[in-house]
Symmetry: D2
Subunit: 291 residues, 4 copies
């Protein structure tokens, strides 16, 4: 499996009370992302509120997604766990149900040393045979993985095959490129950096934006891929206000609010997260018209 392009992140829909997962709505969301030309589907990421689900819920969403996508595109299952043993368990489960890869972010309470981070991924790699995408996002997970460590893990841990970089710092991508002589595939996870990351050599863009912008993110990827920088600029600046909006609060709130405006009621995010407020809905409505 060689991933490139748009890796799309579905939300996890809840029924009104927030207690049950609404699988029919999840199905609609997944179909819409596939229709938007997504090159892979990544359930249970930050957008999917992975960290807020019980073990059973997480398993149910993973299994449902793999089954529904049915190999039309690869499925990359997200894991965000504080303990190594829980992360290991989820990785094994993901492989067992037929996931194509796992995307793993080490959530922290106490900050982790480089050795602790390395061991965390090593132990996960030891128990599975599908690829691992290392996900670096200190703003959510609380752990910052340096480019040097990312490249080291790529070369030294068997199943570490790619990186999702979400710090928003383009210099990190430069470093990944240089330290691996362009060998380590890195994906951009910072929405407002999409144009520049692709220009700097990113393999693709991990994003929840297709939930609201359909094929526009894919269009940006393709215009850069074919070297049409002028078109890429135009496409990027068109969607930038929406990209900025969805990352200004938290992604689940913004995407769920946008889906509702599009006729899909996915409930709100799980408490303590709150759903969107009226002023956000109004702004979102205006952004969706423009897009």
């Amino acid at each position: 499996m060689k991933l490139t392009g748009i890796i799309a992140y579905p939300i996890t829909p809840f029924s009104f009370s927030g207690e049950c997962i609404d699988f029919p709505v999840l199905g609609r969301c997944l179909e819409q992302l596939i229709n938007a030309g997504s090159d892979a589907i990544a359930p249970l990421g930050s957008t999917g509120e992975s960290a807020y689900l019980s073990q059973k819920e997480w398993e149910a969403v993973a299994a449902y997604t793999v089954e529904l996508v049915a190999n039309r595109v690869p499925v990359v299952v997200g894991i965000s766990e504080i303990t190594t043993s829980q992360a290991v368990n989820k990785a094994k489960y993901a492989e067992s149900i037929g996931a194509d890869a796992v995307m793993v972010i080490p959530v922290s309470y106490w900050k982790l040393t480089d050795q602790e981070i390395f061991d965390y991924y090593q132990e996960i790699s030891n128990v599975i045979s599908i690829p691992i995408m290392v996900y670096n996002n200190p703003a959510t997970g609380g752990v910052d993985i340096s480019p040097e460590l990312l490249v080291k893990m790529f070369y030294e841990i068997d199943n570490v095959k790619m990186v999702k970089e979400s710090t928003g710092d383009i210099q990190r991508m430069h470093k990944l490129f240089e330290l691996s002589n362009g060998e380590l595939p890195f994906f951009n996870g910072s929405n407002t950096l999409a144009l520049e990351a692709l220009c700097a050599g990113a393999s693709g863009w991990c994003t929840a934006a297709p939930n609201l912008l359909d094929q526009q993110p894919k269009n940006l990827y393709e215009s850069v891929a074919r070297g049409d920088l002028s078109a890429a600029q135009t496409i990027f600046y068109q969607q930038l206000p929406m990209l900025r909006f969805i990352v200004s609060g938290n992604l689940p709130r913004a995407i769920k609010a946008g889906l509702k405006l599009r006729g899909i009621d996915a409930g709100g995010p799980r408490k303590p997260l709150r759903g969107s407020q009226p002023e956000e809905d109004a702004l979102l409505q205006s952004l969706m018209k423009v897009g």
Copy 2:
């Protein structure tokens, strides 16, 4: 209950494999903290690896501690949960077993708004009748609660009765004092700020240091309380190297390493956290001699 003085944090000991809690060792640790003159015991805090335990383990530690302390001093049970519903469940459990108070830190994946933080504490307060200590520690929990919000919750949420401030920023304590006209009891949770926090009016010091320094933290508190600033300075600078050491990595690692040097084998912290390395043990040994 009006807390002042030293609130001491036990570790959670594991058997060698890291899988089981070692209750006899926990008992020894608790007795030692009581013998050190602690004014309260706070199991399942940051030092106690609260966030790394399963629900069942957490319950077992809470229950064991309340029973063993047996009202000799108050027990303040720590809760660090990402979802409101889990925090609510733990708070109810803590009250049910006879805890004197709960100390609650809202762990985040997505950052929380002020309203989300307020609602989180409000929902917990709604289901219990024991006091809540709001614990602010953005470095571990990922949420930063402003002094303004802390004071607002103190006045508006029934069971919010005190604050543990661990940012290490003394200006936050000034603000708490001013905004509440000195009414809101605040505790210092930043070990290397102990002297100044007490001088600025903190009600006490939440610390794991008594695990290794026995009565020295209490001596600092008492020297400030009786206005002997000269003695307080001397006592503080004596223990400062040790305080700096235990917060330089993570508290569970440092405290467990120190306990081992004192003859108590509490195992290592839970993975991905690693136990202390030989060079740390050597440094720790020298610090314990001095103290």
Copy 3:
């Protein structure tokens, strides 16, 4: 000369157009600071707009101040220069007119290495025989001098005799104390940290506050010095709103505005700095009543 206590900072008054220095008003300000019980006077500091004056103006203010103070208290002349040669020239001049000490901050455009900072002070020390107070204030000068370097310069450069620490980070003071075994006299330059710095062992407090608060800063110093922590807390919290106000914008603007309310027209700060706005004056008026 062994300095302790309150080192007071006069403003540099300008005539209305901002082009000429108003020496009679400077004289009034200096007398007022001496009357407030200041233990030393430090013209041409941050408050004195040292960096905004021409060489000739700077010399005139220094000479006028030394003459008017006339050895009633020591005079510590401020130097904030980007080039070593200019700093050297000013240090020589200060000694030539009878200044008791110089306080030197290395203003930067390009950040300085530790060796560059060391050499800067060494060259100044080489040409004078009066004490140098090293002034660390990265927020204004753009250079951050670590505690380790401060202590090294204290021991290795002849005339470096004391430090003014203005980062507002109490841990820096702890380090100065520890690294020099309490030998290096350090002064606090962060107004809102005054209580804690003195409790942590600072030799004194460098402040412009006596311009508006008269003897209150001295009262704080003395209450800590005699070990009356309760009084110190009361005095500190009384003046804290004013201290916070004067550092919220820039000191020259705030102090000049306050002096005007007290009947002393010292003009505005030099452009591009602007004088206070009406809403600031109103707030200041209310703070002065309380003080």
Copy 4:
């Protein structure tokens, strides 16, 4: 005048003692930059140690440069002054000797408010009729000018015609583009961001790199301009190690060291800045071979 492309920054060479400007060497440097295809020459920038020169030296360098360049390309003279009146004087002088534009950075001691920054540029604009490039570089000047204020000044102050953005934050450039609908010409001043800034729509790249890399920066600009993204990536990653090196310390030190390796002795930077150390020279030598 409509600037695009590479705006090249010469150093200011000093004779060995650092006291005199070496004009013949300056002449050689300027010729080399013109030969490298630079689209404009910008003396007295950060690289030119503008802030370290006396008024007379600054004037002499400006006049010499304008005369020697002799309209072959535009000359953009750098001004970095702490007081408005000094900046005004220099701007008038620059126009009087025939400079094509001025690039102005407001050096700070006390931080400036938006209104103070606006007035600073307004007063400069009032006395000249040549274009002003607003230079934002908080790391050196200590003032951070927001995209909102940059766009406001572009529309409201007559001679503000373009911006040099050196924060290294690509999001600032996005904002400049959006807030002005692409009307405000912005130049990139962060060397390691060159590829992405041009891809995001920058008019050009302000850089000292041509001193050591000759036509390579121009080649990058041109490959982006003609839409050859693949070539641009290759060219950028080739020069990135050198770009990173020259910004790792300070530009004058790095460029002067590199020129020496190329046979041009421009002396060291002015004290307190130190010249390069042997290990830096060795690294530089290896980077120049590769380039």
